[in-house]
Symmetry: C2
Subunit: 250 residues, 2 copies
């Protein structure tokens, strides 16, 4: 039985908490959060504190707080030599205070309120300073995912950057699509089968092989029509950048 | 029983042909293609011609050829007053010659070689000049999809433009992600659960609600790190455009 204390209770830690509580191998001992939380299902019965000084003893402390709070909160923990991990893609392991054993437990996924994440095949990127701590994190990761791997801080930074492109920026293109349709009173749902197929396709084809469309085939007439349709919209900048890049790489 | 002749046999018509042949309500009578095709499974047994003059009689002629060939090929058809449709998102119904009854049968999906498309919930956008032809196309669409709807040429143009954003451009962002990982010897597969969740999320949340990431939360430190990681790469232009836009809209 592994015991866990969550430090911070935003989207990531909430989803981890839910997943770990479904297992008999983990006991979620306590949640720390700066602001009071009244736990409702599926979190009922967890011990809560808003004071670092009353943190209980646990095998692993999982920090799910803003990147720029990690250094100071980890420095203010009232104990030493315990395993303290953060869950961030964007910062190195060395942001954690050296007074405890440092680690990273980064699930490479997008987390939103009110949307349950299934961890089964989500990559859990782990990092630690010792083999024994790495083994503890590997064991913990395997409880919720089949896809646990050691990733250095340097490689994790690149992963996080790539994730921004394929998640944040992709989602913004969905928003553009949604807005364009709204202007013509067309429902966004129309695009969903296409969006899903676009994502699923690259399980079989590389993105390079999967690329289609007017820019790829140098179809200037269609490109011109599209630019005209976009008018003065600021989406035009996106259209031009993608189109010019795709044309130059074909 | 509806009889069909396919004119052109690229990705779209191949997938339509496969789907229609799985139904007892459609008979694929013939395929015309400029270049000879030796049919293998699942297309064996279809009658082939490379000459418009030997086209057989059918209820519907489905053109799946490049946009800029549609006007001339439809003009060169050796018959009149039959139902001739194109499958293009990018051009109006009026690109078809008026010597036949004009129609559009546009499946809003991305088609690649060697990837079987399941049409079940793919929107089939239909257009015709008469109610009776519209009914014929609706019946045909319903054989392969639950999602057949009348869409005007004007609205179809906007749909096609939106599709370019959520398919072509999204796929290019996947390619950027893949290249960034390759530079660090990380497998692209790592990003696939994230890519899939990003696409599935917007079935429940609007893209606006689903938006996360450093630009959305104004996390300048992470943005600076990312720009540094990107170095002189031309991907920097994409990063900056998305980030500045997301920041300005938050």
């Amino acid at each position: 039985m592994v015991t866990i204390v969550f430090i911070g209770f935003g989207n990531v830690n909430q989803q981890l908490c839910r997943a770990f509580r479904a297992s008999n191998d983990v006991f979620v001992k306590q949640v720390f959060n700066r602001n009071f939380i009244k736990f409702a299902a599926p979190y009922e019965g967890i011990s809560f504190t808003d004071s670092l000084s009353t943190l209980e003893e646990a095998d692993i402390y999982i920090m799910g707080i803003p990147d720029d709070a990690i250094a100071s909160v980890s420095e203010n923990l009232p104990f030493q030599n315990r395993l303290v991990v953060h869950t961030s893609g964007g910062i190195t392991i060395d942001n954690l205070s050296p007074k405890n054993r440092k680690g990273v437990f980064y699930p490479l996924q997008t987390f939103s309120k009110n949307r349950k994440v299934v961890f089964d095949n989500i990559p859990i990127c782990i990092e630690a300073e010792s083999t024994s701590d790495l083994e503890i994190l590997e064991k913990l990761g395997n409880i919720i995912s089949e896809n646990v791997m050691e990733i250095s801080s340097e490689k994790r930074a690149e992963l996080h950057l790539a994730a921004v492109f394929v998640n944040n920026f992709v989602n913004y293109l969905y928003e553009i699509g949604s807005k364009l349709l709204k202007e013509k009173n067309l429902p966004f749902q129309l695009l969903q089968p296409l969006i899903l197929e676009t994502a699923q396709k690259i399980e079989d084809l590389s993105p390079k092989e999967a690329q289609t469309g007017p820019a790829k085939r140098g179809d200037e007439k269609t490109i011109e029509k599209h630019l005209k349709l976009l008018g003065d919209s600021h989406y035009k900048k996106f259209y031009k950048l993608f189109t010019e890049t795709l044309k130059s790489e074909t």
